[in-house]
């Protein structure tokens, strides 16, 4: 008979607390999703998500989150680069501000971004004269999502850039490579896993974001309605099974993204580990 003995005490206590807490807060409520799905049935789910309005909301959510994540990948790389490589006045301040979107309540971000970009806003007015409108359009959604997901890419890349030894670049330089070639051939490949991770996290967060978007989006059906809003709307109409259906697709998307992130990080680790 094999008896595994645990050396450190407290296994029963800590496992008991952990399991009960997780069951009560996460597991049991999540099971409700399964129950609700069972009640609606697969045909119910398919009918719900192929509804025109819901289908449009997916397109808005996925499209805008993707673009916002892409914008942040480009600007985030630039910001990380500047913060790591250059010393200039205000660097520390910018570095601290990067976290702002994580700290500031999303509703506050939503109303202030909306206020800035309406036809009467500080940024919106000059643009409106040029015929460009941000608030209450898809562009507005992208702006809000860019703000919310800004820290992800920067914070994913920053540590990698810090650790990147200048030896690689110097080696490249001694071999006669120019700056552009060094960046694209030597530095960018090193950043790739972190970029992919940052992008995916930003994309996932963008998909689920609600507070900041609903103010700026205008929420016009078929045009600027995001999927999370559809959940809320269906819930308020007591169409629980439709709300569940919308949520299921988004959950699936989140899980796929998280899976990709895990794989990327595992592969990156295997490179480093050799």
């Amino acid at each position: 008979m094999k008896k595994t003995k645990r050396i450190l005490p407290g296994f029963g206590l800590t496992m008991g607390v952990t399991m009960s807490y997780l069951s009560f807060i996460v597991l049991i409520p999540m099971i409700s999703l399964v129950i609700q799905t069972g009640e609606a049935g697969w045909s119910g789910i398919i009918t719900a998500i192929t509804d025109q309005r819901i289908w449009s909301s997916y397109k808005v959510s996925f499209g805008c989150s993707f673009l916002a994540a892409l914008i942040n990948t480009i600007f985030g790389t630039m910001l990380a680069w500047v913060l790591v490589r250059y010393r200039f006045l205000g660097r520390r301040l910018i570095d601290g501000l990067i976290e702002l979107p994580f700290a500031i309540p999303t509703a506050v971000a939503g109303i202030s971004l909306t206020f800035l970009t309406t036809d009467k806003g500080w940024i919106g007015r000059p643009l409106a004269e040029l015929g460009i409108r941000i608030a209450y359009t898809k562009v507005g959604i992208i702006v809000a999502l860019t703000f919310i997901t800004l820290p992800f890419v920067v914070r994913s890349i920053q540590p990698i850039l810090e650790e990147l030894s200048p030896d690689f670049e110097e080696a490249g330089r001694t071999l006669g490579a120019g700056s552009a070639r060094i960046f694209f051939k030597i530095i960018l490949p090193e950043l790739k896993p972190a970029l992919l991770t940052g992008f995916s996290l930003a994309f996932a967060r963008g998909l689920g974001e609600y507070g900041s978007v609903i103010f700026i989006a205008g929420n016009k059906p078929f045009q600027t309605e995001i999927a999370p809003l559809m959940i809320v709307t269906r819930l308020e109409e007591f169409h629980y099974e439709q709300a569940t259906a919308v949520a299921l697709v988004m959950l699936l998307a989140s899980f796929i993204i998280m899976f990709v992130v895990n794989r990327v990080q595992l592969r990156a680790a295997s490179y480093v580990g050799g």
Binding site: K3, K5, I7
Partner: protein, 356 residues
């Protein structure tokens, strides 16, 4: 036996870490568990401490089986490889920890800790934190902490591994001195044979989860019981097909053998050869200065042999043809190692003397 292991097994997943290990140690012994990494030595130590539990087998101290005894009730002191000093406690509090747990009176604790601080020669460092100590000092504190509750047995996991080479030698003799002075039964784990030979009274050699041989250092050196021990203790040259060597034609059947450097004698060109009919012809391949002797590598037909050569003797150079006398060798026969002497030598002694 004071500490005794009987048929102990331990498996981690698919890895048989400890495979039928039995040995016993008398009270007051300073023993080394010696073996390559992955040989199970640390697992054995941790099982004695109660940090791992054996799958089967018995571990007893002072005649009573301790398998199901809580680690803290076994009366052991444990020195971890990286000391595991509590970083957020002072040296004093670290040493006092085991005593405060037992709720001993404050004055008594203070007295004991101060006694130990004096013993390890760090009287003035009681208020320091571990981070402010050197490697050697940390080790002494870990030693004192393990001793504070007056354990029956002291266990040390690779006690010198984390210390740089220079301090290590000092600490070895310090530790040996301390343990002999306190007369506490101690077992330490090491993968370094010179460490085990220098420090321990008894060595337990482990390999692939088994005990290969147990004995005093000299015993292991003189009469290794298995090929593994012959190879592991001392520096020997391995050779094949030893029955083709002059004087070993009638050696027991076998193939591989180990030849210690001191089993070989060289005769420089022109030097008088004492046992003309029992020597081989060889050519010197390389020579390296090793501080007090020369290490000479000689080629004898297909054999490559290593031996020492005193600086006081006639000079040699690579390429020189020399006469090589092999006194004896360890012939490996299955899992046994047998000492075989050169039959053409008319020597009377069975063992060998150490002054070659």
């Amino acid at each position: 036996m004071y500490v005794e292991l009987k048929n102990v097994f331990k498996r981690f997943g698919n890895f048989q870490a400890v495979n039928d290990v039995s040995f016993g140690l008398a009270q007051g012994t300073l023993a080394a568990l010696l073996g390559p990494s992955g040989s199970g030595k640390t697992t054995i130590l941790r099982m004695i401490a109660g940090l791992e539990s054996p799958d089967s087998g018995q571990i007893s101290i002072e005649g009573s089986v301790i398998n199901n005894l809580e680690p803290s009730r076994r009366g052991i002191g444990f020195v971890f490889q990286n000391y595991a000093l509590f970083r957020y406690m002072t040296v004093f509090d670290n040493i006092a920890f085991g005593l405060t747990t037992k709720k001993e009176p404050k004055a008594k604790i203070k007295e004991r800790v101060e006694e130990l601080l004096t013993l390890i020669g760090l009287e003035d460092l009681g208020k320091r934190y571990p981070a402010q100590l050197s490697g050697g000092q940390k080790q002494r504190v870990a030693f004192a902490r393990a001793l504070a509750p007056r354990p029956r047995i002291l266990l040390l996991d690779e006690p010198f591994a984390a210390i740089d080479a220079k301090v290590r030698r000092e600490l070895r003799s310090w530790l040996r001195h301390m343990i002999t002075k306190l007369k506490i039964t101690s077992i330490f784990v090491t993968h370094d044979q010179s460490e085990a030979i220098e420090v321990a009274d008894r060595i337990i050699i482990t390999n692939s989860g088994r005990v290969e041989q147990t004995g005093a250092p000299v015993e292991l050196y003189r009469s290794p019981a298995t090929p593994f021990v012959a190879r592991f203790i001392g520096e020997s040259t391995l050779a094949n097909d030893y029955r083709t060597l002059v004087g070993f034609e009638e050696a027991p059947d076998g193939y591989e053998c180990a030849i210690r450097p001191e089993f070989i004698r060289l005769f420089a060109p022109g030097e008088e050869v004492q046992f003309e009919n029992s020597v081989e012809e060889g050519v010197i391949e390389t020579m390296a200065f090793r501080g007090d002797t020369l290490e000479v590598i000689i080629r004898v037909r297909d054999f490559t042999l290593t031996t020492g050569y005193s600086l006081e003797r006639p000079p040699l150079a690579p390429g020189d043809r020399v006469k090589v006398l092999i006194y004896r060798l360890y012939a490996f026969n299955g899992d046994r190692a047998v000492l075989v002497s050169n039959k053409r030598l008319n020597n009377t002694g069975n063992g060998y003397n150490f002054q070659i």
